[in-house]
């Protein structure tokens, strides 16, 4: 018998096969018992078989190696897929999971195997998961089932995921459910923000419209109320006694206040509904300030308040809506005078050209603003202390309107104050107006 071709001894596996083959050969009838010619044929046959086997073996080993490579490749693809892959038992226990899936839950893969997936579902969504699993198991024709729910990660944070599941069947028996899990937290957050924004915008618009309607409705009764008081005052119902005249004046004052309030509400609702259009034109800053001051002079004198101006000679003309700038100035200067101390004080208006902006500040030596109240300043219907309206008047809308008007021009407004010492309001307006549509 010829020595067989050298076999690679290094591999145990091959070695064992060889031992087995030797053992088999030993049990076979010895060649001496065979007739001469027949033996030769038999040996030849055996050798052919041997070579065939060796070749097959080589083939197998090569296939095996290829398979290993392919398996590695697919494990890579599986593990690092952009979505999580889970395999669940019928009870919802995690039997297999890729790295992405484990990453979604923020936990190592080892710790996940054989744990119930339900442990990671936000409790209020647990039924969604339960139904989803059940549907996946029961669905006809292995139809793909999907659902969206929230998962609680190991660190406690929550993510929105979409599950897509199919059951795996062998011989018509459901063995497992295979599920793709994709994270859409970012998309969901963006969507939620968008929806929330939309909701707020709609609510805001509805509120503005309501305010506009309300102020319209309020005018009708006020028309008669002011009208009849005026008729009384003018003696159309007979001569009034001094007391009657005083009462009528009180009624008229209150009515006038109501009218101011209605106008302010209308103003703010128009601004908010985007209905105020600025009439932008070239206007002189010092001239506008002087014109505004002439409206307040009398009141300032009554309060013993000195009005001072310091104009920057560099700042003369800007492009703005003069009427609205006057409104801004009036609100600020009027407030400064109104909140002066009882013995009087000084209100100083300072202008300054700062680059492309005109800066105007209104400083008073008045009662000042407590620090904790600073944030309420520009809010609607906020007067800093209850009772302020009775003592100082005003609707609580002035500064909110002022702020909106400044911002609509593309400027900014802010306040600095020391309680008991005074307040400075400063606003800026662009010297060259922004083009329409840029202001928003």
């Amino acid at each position: 018998m010829k020595k067989p071709k050298a076999m690679p001894e290094k591999e145990n596996h091959d070695h064992k096969i060889r031992e087995k083959a030797e053992a088999k050969l030993a049990n076979m009838p010895s060649s001496q018992e065979m007739a001469g010619k027949k033996t030769d044929e038999l040996i030849h046959e055996l050798q052919v078989h041997q070579i065939e086997l060796e070749m097959q073996n080589e083939e197998l080993k090569k296939t095996q190696m290829d398979l290993e490579k392919t398996k590695e490749k697919y494990i890579d693809l599986y593990d690092f897929a952009p979505i999580g892959y889970f395999t669940f038992s019928r009870e919802g226990l995690i039997k297999e999971v890729n790295l992405t899936g484990a990453g979604l839950l923020g936990i190592t893969r080892k710790k996940l195997i054989d744990r119930g997936f339900g442990n990671f579902v936000v409790p209020s969504d647990f039924n969604l998961w339960n139904d989803h699993l059940l549907l996946s198991i029961m669905s006809k024709d292995q139809e793909k089932q999907s659902c969206e729910l929230r998962l609680k990660r190991e660190d406690g944070s929550k993510i929105f995921v979409r599950l897509e599941s199919v059951r795996i069947e062998i011989m018509d028996v459901t063995l497992q459910v295979r599920t793709a899990v994709s994270d859409f937290t970012e998309r969901k957050t963006a969507e939620n923000l968008r929806i929330e924004n939309l909701r707020l915008e709609t609510a805001d618009k509805a509120k503005s419209e309501l305010l506009a309607n309300m102020s319209h409705e309020l005018r009708t009764p006020l028309n008669a109320s002011i009208g009849f008081s005026e008729l009384l005052k003018q003696g159309m119902a007979g001569e009034l006694s001094e007391k009657q005249r005083k009462y009528v004046d009180n009624i008229l004052t209150s009515n006038q206040f109501l009218l101011t309030l209605i106008n302010d509400i209308l103003d703010i609702s128009k601004i908010e509904a985007g209905k105020i259009e600025l009439v932008i034109d070239r206007m002189s800053v010092p001239e506008t300030i002087q014109e505004t001051l002439s409206l307040i002079k009398e009141k300032a004198m009554k309060h013993n308040v000195l009005l001072k101006t310091e104009f920057d000679p560099e700042l003369e003309f800007i492009e703005a809506d003069k009427q609205r700038v006057k409104q801004i100035l009036f609100n600020l200067i009027n407030n400064a005078v109104k909140f002066s101390k009882e013995e009087g004080g000084t209100v100083t208006i300072i202008t300054k050209k700062e680059g492309a902006m005109a800066k105007v500040s209104v400083s008073d030596t008045g009662i000042g603003i407590k620090e904790e109240n600073g944030g309420k300043l520009f809010q609607k219907f906020e007067q800093l202390e209850s009772g302020i309206s009775q003592k100082y008047g005003g609707t609580g809308l002035g500064l909110a309107i002022t702020k909106q008007l400044v911002e609509q021009h593309g400027g900014k407004i802010w306040a600095e104050s020391k309680y008991g010492e005074g307040t400075t309001f400063t606003f800026t307006l662009p010297i060259v107006a922004k083009k329409m549509g840029d202001t928003k």
């Binding site: 506009a212 009764p221 028309n223 008669a224 002011i226 009849f228 003018q234």
Partner: protein, 120 residues
């Protein structure tokens, strides 16, 4: 005597305007909606119309348009007295054919001045 028609759905507003009209020596009649105003204007010819805008049914502007298209009304002054007090409302109502516009609450002195202007 100058005859005026006052149209408003608010009774107190009507009373107040009528009060001023009679003080100024007008004879005043009233209507509470646009349809009634048109009907009254068909029966009688008025020298002055004081019209609220927001009315149940036909609004004041429409009623005024119809009245003004009737024979004898070509030159009759129509005054809008309305709670529409937004910027642009004055221009809007003047363009719709009103001769004058007063927003509610109207300034009494100005309103009386206007009445005296139209008194015959």
């Amino acid at each position: 005597m100058t005859k005026a028609l006052v149209v408003d759905d608010d009774p107190l507003s009507i009373e107040y305007v009528v009060e001023m009209l009679t003080t100024c020596g007008f004879m005043a009649e009233t209507a509470v909606n646009g349809e009634e105003a048109v009907k009254k204007a068909q029966i009688e010819v008025y020298d002055l119309i004081i019209m609220d805008i927001e009315l149940p049914g036909m609004d004041g502007a429409a009623a005024t348009r119809i009245i003004k298209s009737k024979p004898g009304y070509e030159n009759t002054p129509a005054i809008a007295l309305t709670a529409y007090a937004m910027k642009g409302d004055r221009e809007r109502f003047l363009a719709e054919g009103f001769n004058e516009y007063f927003s509610k609450p109207a300034n009494v002195a100005d309103f009386l001045k206007m009445l005296k202007k139209y008194r015959k």
